[in-house]
């Protein structure tokens, strides 16, 4: 199958001819083809939820801490060591368990793109801005809340202005020392600092662009630039078309190898694949598994892939009949042809997912080992009172399998395979592609999505416990993203409440493992596959590194002559 598609791709006379003719570039410059370019650079702004926008933020701004690098796999992609943190803008830090206070020693001599120097004031400014919840989608506040930073509770949204003041939660000891207090013991503090929602702004430039109506310069950051201390500075930016960065010579870890990075929006994945082959571009992201598979063996190209935190699961809403019946949920778990999906849907670039949290996360337990067994599925359906699916027609609407219509080219084959498999066991399923906005609204806000395929849930906090709280704790007890309306007060809610503040990691891991077994038993999610996060790029490029938000950090990249 592999050779046929390569011949097929290369038979395009135009392509093979051009591939070799790319002229070497004097100043090191790379062009990245992406599905979209940042629609805004403010992580508290309207486009914070869009992955392409997050890529822009992590390029221009720098976090306090990050994960240390671990091993590099055979495709040349380095993965992080989730148990080992390394300082970025922070040089070192210490934690006093008694007073729940973190003290950070900040790096000195760090300059931003506008020449402004980095010091404690910038850190204070960043957290004060987050607490002001003045943006359209206050992600900064949310992460601080998850990390239990003192004072970052829901009361911030009330009318009382004082609640928005940073108070003594984040205090400046001297120009290069900052202290952050937690409200309660919480192991997620350091992980949240690595996330794009708490990147440090450059106070001087930000305050230069504030206005009376917009004191926190949301408009400036959303439409013009995100001033900070990142590895790259902004050259030019045309929304919906193109954004280009140039290396920041004063970056604290030294000047990045690649001088200019340009990202261009090329909507259709097949077009990106074609242009990459012509040599006009150096990196193409977000291709379909088939395209990655055929580019893997093309001349002058390599495909870096890593089993990151991207996964696909089937979501069945507990509040919608017949999914409240555990037998029906177990029957469906045996009706999914995992191998056919991996082979025809992902072209082998995935493995069956047998857990409820990403397998690469600390605290993961392989608790959901469902097997494809149509006979067992039919038997379970019969036990549930629907022999050969008779009686299920009444729930035809519940069996509308929803998925994001914009992802038709990748999810199309998968939902079709599942649709056929479900009908084979008597389940009256139909397909229902809905726009991203409507999908997000019904999944997160209204939580009325009965039956859906979801491949875009990447828990930000790299920790099994965090994922459990976000997705599986009862809605009003902190389960912000409990899209399936699952509620298990004793075995999950209470167990997690204890584990959350458990300082001893061994005890914490045992508790989260037990919870994962319960989730698997109730088939809260039906995990299908963990598919690889991939980038197709010229073989002259190396140094790719994977981060939990799946955005590349351009300063990792090395371009050979």
């Amino acid at each position: 199958m592999r050779t046929a598609s390569t011949k097929l791709l290369c038979s395009a006379a135009a392509l093979c001819l051009l591939a070799g003719a790319a002229t070497p570039l004097s100043a090191k410059e790379i062009l990245i083809l992406s599905e979209d370019v940042p629609a805004g650079l403010d992580y508290d702004g309207p486009s914070a939820a869009i992955p392409a926008s997050q890529q822009g933020m992590v390029t221009l701004l720098e976090p306090l801490v990050g994960y240390a690098a671990s091993s590099t796999n055979d495709t040349g992609v380095t993965v992080p060591d989730f148990n080992k943190f390394e300082g970025r803008l922070a040089e070192s830090w210490s934690f006093d368990a008694a007073t729940l206070t973190w003290t950070f020693k900040l790096r000195q001599g760090v300059k931003g793109c506008d020449g402004a120097t980095f010091n404690a004031d910038d850190v204070i400014y960043t957290f004060q801005r987050a607490k002001s919840v003045s943006g359209a989608a206050p992600i900064g506040w949310f992460l601080s809340n998850v990390g239990s930073i003192k004072g970052f509770g829901p009361e911030v949204f009330g009318g009382d202005a004082a609640a928005k003041d940073i108070g003594d939660a984040v205090t400046k000891i001297d120009d290069y020392t900052v202290q952050i207090k937690q409200g309660e013991p919480n192991a997620l503090f350091l992980p949240v600092l690595t996330i794009f929602g708490l990147l440090i702004f450059d106070k001087e430039t930000m305050e230069a662009h504030k206005t009376d109506a917009d004191p926190w310069s949301h408009d400036y950051v959303n439409n013009t630039n995100a001033p900070g201390f990142g590895a790259y500075c902004l050259n030019s930016w045309t929304k919906n078309e193109e954004i280009s960065y140039s290396a920041n010579p004063d970056y604290f870890a030294g000047k990045p190898d690649v001088d200019t990075v340009t990202v261009k929006r090329v909507p259709q994945s097949s077009n990106r694949a074609v242009v990459l082959q012509t040599g006009e571009a150096q990196v193409a992201t977000g291709l379909t598994p088939r395209e990655f598979d055929s580019l893997r063996s093309a001349a002058g190209l390599k495909v870096g892939s890593v089993a990151g935190n991207e996964n696909t699961f089937l979501h069945m809403n507990f509040k919608v009949k017949p999914f409240d019946n555990p037998l029906v949920r177990q029957a469906i778990s045996h009706a999914i042809p995992f191998d056919q999906i991996i082979a025809n849907g992902y072209f082998g670039q995935a493995k069956q997912w047998q857990g409820m949290v990403p397998s690469s996360y600390p605290g993961y337990k392989a608790s959901a080992n469902y097997t494809y067994d149509p006979a067992k599925a039919k038997e379970l359906l019969a036990q549930a009172g629907y022999p050969d699916g008779k009686g299920l027609e009444a729930f035809a609407d519940s069996f509308r399998l929803s998925y994001v219509s914009e992802k038709e080219s990748t999810l199309g084959p998968i939902v079709n395979i599942i649709n056929t498999a479900l009908q084979a066991v008597g389940i009256p399923s139909t397909l229902d592609p809905i726009p991203q906005t409507q999908y997000g609204d019904r999944q997160l806000v209204k939580r009325d999505l009965p039956f859906a395929i979801n491949d875009q849930e990447k828990p930000i906090g790299v920790d099994a416990g965090y994922a459990i709280q976000l997705f599986f704790v009862t809605g009003d007890k902190g389960g912000l993203n409990n899209m399936v309306n699952y509620s298990n007060p004793t075995e999950v809610d209470d167990a997690w409440a204890k584990a959350r503040v458990e300082p001893d990691t061994a005890k914490r891991d045992a508790a989260t493992a037990a919870i994962q077994d319960v989730l698997a038993r109730d088939v809260v999610w039906l995990p299908i596959v963990e598919y690889k996060t991939q980038w197709a790029h010229t073989d002259k490029l190396s140094g790719l590194r994977w981060y939990p938000d799946n955005s590349l950090r351009y300063y990792d990249l090395k371009l050979a002559e």
Partner: protein
């Protein structure tokens, strides 16, 4: 009082070609209608279910006779994919012949819904000229000034991609056309002799409108119908192409083209070429039919 001039020349006669062209149009339309009825059941595969063979190119023409004989003889492991399979493994031939059930039904319902509403409103607007009908015409003008494709897309995407929403979106586009057409014909029929004679005889205005004016004002709308049906099929396919049409896996030509579009640039032409041929032939068939009706009306 000008006496009608005595022209002894005969009217312009239809050139001979109308006949075989009309026959072709008729054959196409009838075939598509039959497929709309039984299409989904006569294909070698169930159009709604995938097979395990993904992106398989179609057999070359020379192989087809051999495939057919061995298929009937039952010696093949699985029924042949005459038009190959698409990226999800669907058999394209079965879906192409099953698509008329979606495309034609949407086009026909949308057309006759807007025909009925349009003719009725057109009759009222043409026959009873008063403030209400003038307002109706202004509203119809506003509806007609909507950008056709974008408004259809807005309606379907926001209201949900069900066939009924597509039919409503199409009707929203066509009702003003039928209103305008019928109103013009009613205005010209309204001043004819037999209408005055009917009034002189003591018919009520409504009786005149329904018994005399309406039957004589239907022809332009009926001729427009065949063009509109063809156009509705194009619009439905266009909506699916931008992801605002029918929901997969419903077999629909536009949807099949749009799925195939992603891979045509990589050389896989068959998933979108065959449904495209089907659309262009069907719409051409309706266009030919419409043209022949129009010519017959001009001479009749």
């Amino acid at each position: 009082m000008s006496a009608l001039p005595d022209i002894d020349a005969l009217p312009a006669l239809p050139p001979k070609r109308a006949d075989w062209l009309f026959r072709i149009g008729l054959v196409i339309v009838i075939t598509v209608t039959i497929l709309a009825a039984i299409g989904p059941y006569i294909g070698p595969y169930d159009p709604m279910l995938t097979t395990v063979r993904v992106a398989q190119p179609p057999p070359s023409l020379v192989e087809i006779p051999g495939l057919l004989t061995s298929w009937f003889a039952g010696t093949l492991p699985y029924p042949p994919h005459f038009m190959g399979t698409d990226v999800s493994g669907y058999d394209i031939f079965s879906r192409v012949i099953a698509a008329p059930r979606t495309d034609l039904v949407i086009a026909l319902t949308a057309n006759f819904l807007s025909l009925a509403v349009g003719v009725f409103l057109g009759l009222i607007a043409g026959y009873f000229r008063n403030v209400a009908t003038e307002l109706l015409m202004r509203v119809s003008d506003v509806m007609q000034s909507f950008p056709v494709f974008i408004s259809a897309m807005v309606l379907v995407t926001l209201a949900g991609r069900s066939t009924s929403n597509i039919v409503i979106a199409l009707a929203f586009v066509y009702i003003p056309i039928y209103i305008r057409l019928t109103r013009a014909e009613v205005l010209s029929q309204k001043s004819r002799g037999f209408v005055e004679a009917a009034r002189a005889m003591g018919n009520s205005e409504i009786a005149i409108a329904l018994r005399h004016v309406l039957p004589n004002s239907l022809t332009p709308a009926l001729i427009q119908s065949s063009v509109t049906i063809g156009f509705a099929i194009l619009l439905t396919a266009g909506l699916s192409f931008v992801g605002a049409g029918v929901r997969p896996p419903t077999p629909e030509w536009g949807l099949m083209i749009s799925t195939g579009a992603n891979t045509i640039i990589l050389g896989e032409w068959w998933p979108s070429v065959f449904p495209g041929i089907a659309i262009s032939l069907t719409v051409f068939g309706f266009a030919v039919l419409g043209n022949a009706l129009e010519r017959r009306y001009e001479d009749g």
